[in-house]
Symmetry: none
Subunit: 188 residues, 4 copies
DNA sequence: AATGAATGAGCATTCATTCAT
DNA sequence: GATGAATGAATGCTCATTCAT
């Protein structure tokens, strides 16, 4: 049943977060999910497929998180700040243990156009933000992907280093970082 | 001889870039390096040690590349631009196949203070740049690590996506991206 | 199934008898037992566990053999003679190839009290023989372990040397040896 | 030089006593002996040969120890008692770490007649004791090997169990055991 | 549909032995 | 003679995958 597939995905995510990529065996997943080893192969072609689907599963979750509490009628800056903080907060939340990237970013992922389109759709609100910003003359005239790397990627990167203890980021610094990211993409 | 150790490191780097972290076996490394499997263990304690040493090896290379052609008497902006491009260019060069990060960043690394200090020293020039910028009132008053994430990390990130074909970055966009990164860390 | 576990134990015993402790590899065991290498690890934690369990398995067999056809109502001397010959005969039988000690005695064995108690119970009849002999004033007042070494150990030792061709022991000599062992433990 | 050969044998004996048969590698022996790995092969054909020669080396030592302080003009019983105690004492002495049998008895040994003859000669005094005892009508008319197993083997066996902590043998018991062994081989 | 015992190729690592110096 | 770096087959063990039930 669908129930089982979900349990397998959840188990995989959990174990991946705990033991990392190396320490993940199909038998462990089976045990954690409460199914037989063979059952996994009824829902997933092989280990790669399991990981691919997990990627999609998590990406979906991420997209929802990133764009939550963001509505079209909010001022651009508010929308940006909300998204930036959504990304920042994700790292601290238990329900998405893999977002402490490193582990997520390096999941094997499919590279077809189909995959690309899906990802586009998931992050439609982000693209909309950048499109509006450019149309209004507020943002620099750069591809959305580049704007994203300049302004949102640092949020994820800082959060990861913060959470991993590489260095601390206090609230004041964090607010300054948000403004700096805003400075990066706006015209001067 | 030292020759063999180097060949083993080079082989590991190459195979890691091709097959990723998993799918890297000691026998593969041996074959690629043109030595016997047992020989690896003459130079490296075990697989972990091989990876640790590779990390240091590459980090050294990276640090040199990043700070090359950067001297203290250049204007801040020039220094910054040079470093940014150094990072960008690294991704395109065959001699450092792992810099298409993702794979490099996730090498297991030692976490002692000793390791941290070594890394600090390697990137002294980067820190100097940020320190001078802040002292002169040109840069925002933020920790060097944060400034680095805001301004240099995007270079690596864009380069990686560029090289992996996620999207194209033409020269004009690249120059605009450099300016945007500069905007991120300077006062307005 | 239990069948497989038994086959693995039998195969181990056989190969141990032929090739000795070293020269016993898990793959050899697997091949001889007609199972895949990995299957062994379904029934035994690791090589040590396999050897431990084999020890128990054989000790059980030995205990049964040694005390077979021995009943409490037989005269002491008859019981002793029967056990002595049971030990002697074991060496000649194909179903217990490791009894040509040397190899058996040096199997790694667990050393917990649990193990000790199990062994005590297995050889209860031997202890009973010695206890009765001492109670009746027929035997010397020595610990059972010492009496055992003086009277039964030589049987195993002679049998081993006989079987290994170190020297021949004809029937007359054997009977004399039994009497000699009896002389060793009885009062004079 | 002869010096090196001796050092290699001593090193082997020591390491064998500490790490057992399994944990003995040629590189360890080389290190302990203070020679290069390759040097071992100048004095010994291969690992087997090293072990064979160690066997002979130790057997020589054992033979000397067993028959020390034994002279032809001592009464039979005194000679016997001395040998019995020589065997018993060997187990406690540091200079022959392998005698705690198990490890020694299971060294691979050559089985040629040549080997047999050498062993005969080493234990000539033991044979002489038994021959005299039989000639005088004091001992049972049994092969020397059998007499040996009945009377001296228990000494080694008890000593081993004593030293390994299987059970304690106090002085009184030990004297009784010597008498019991004497009873085993004498006529009644 | 689901199971889980069985598989066997693959892994990291060791070590007896060789041989150029 | 002596060295010790190099070898590569062999080891104990794991784990993705299959398939009879």
């Amino acid at each position: 049943m669908n129930d089982k597939k979900t349990r397998i995905l959840k188990a995989t995510e959990k174990l991946l977060a705990i033991y990392g990529f190396h320490g993940l065996s199909m038998q462990m997943v089976a045990k954690e999910a409460g199914v037989a080893a063979g059952t996994i192969y009824r829902y997933f072609e092989d280990k790669d497929d399991l990981l691919h689907q997990l990627y999609d599963h998590i990406l979906n979750h991420v997209a929802n998180k990133v764009t939550q509490n963001v509505s079209d009628d909010m001022p651009l800056k508010d929308r940006f700040r909300t998204m930036w903080l959504n990304i920042w907060n994700m790292a601290n939340q238990e329900d998405a243990p893999l977002i402490n990237r490193g582990q997520f970013e390096n999941l094997p992922r499919r590279n077809g156009t189909e995959q690309r389109q899906m990802e586009q759709k998931l992050f439609a609100k982000v693209n909309q933000l950048f499109d509006e910003g450019k149309a209004s003359g507020l943002f620099k005239q750069l591809d959305n992907e580049i704007l994203s790397v300049l302004s949102l990627e640092p949020s994820a990167c800082l959060a990861r280093k913060h959470i991993n203890g590489v260095f601390r980021v206090d609230e004041t610094s964090r607010e300054a970082a948000i403004d700096a990211c805003w400075d990066a993409i706006t015209q001067h």
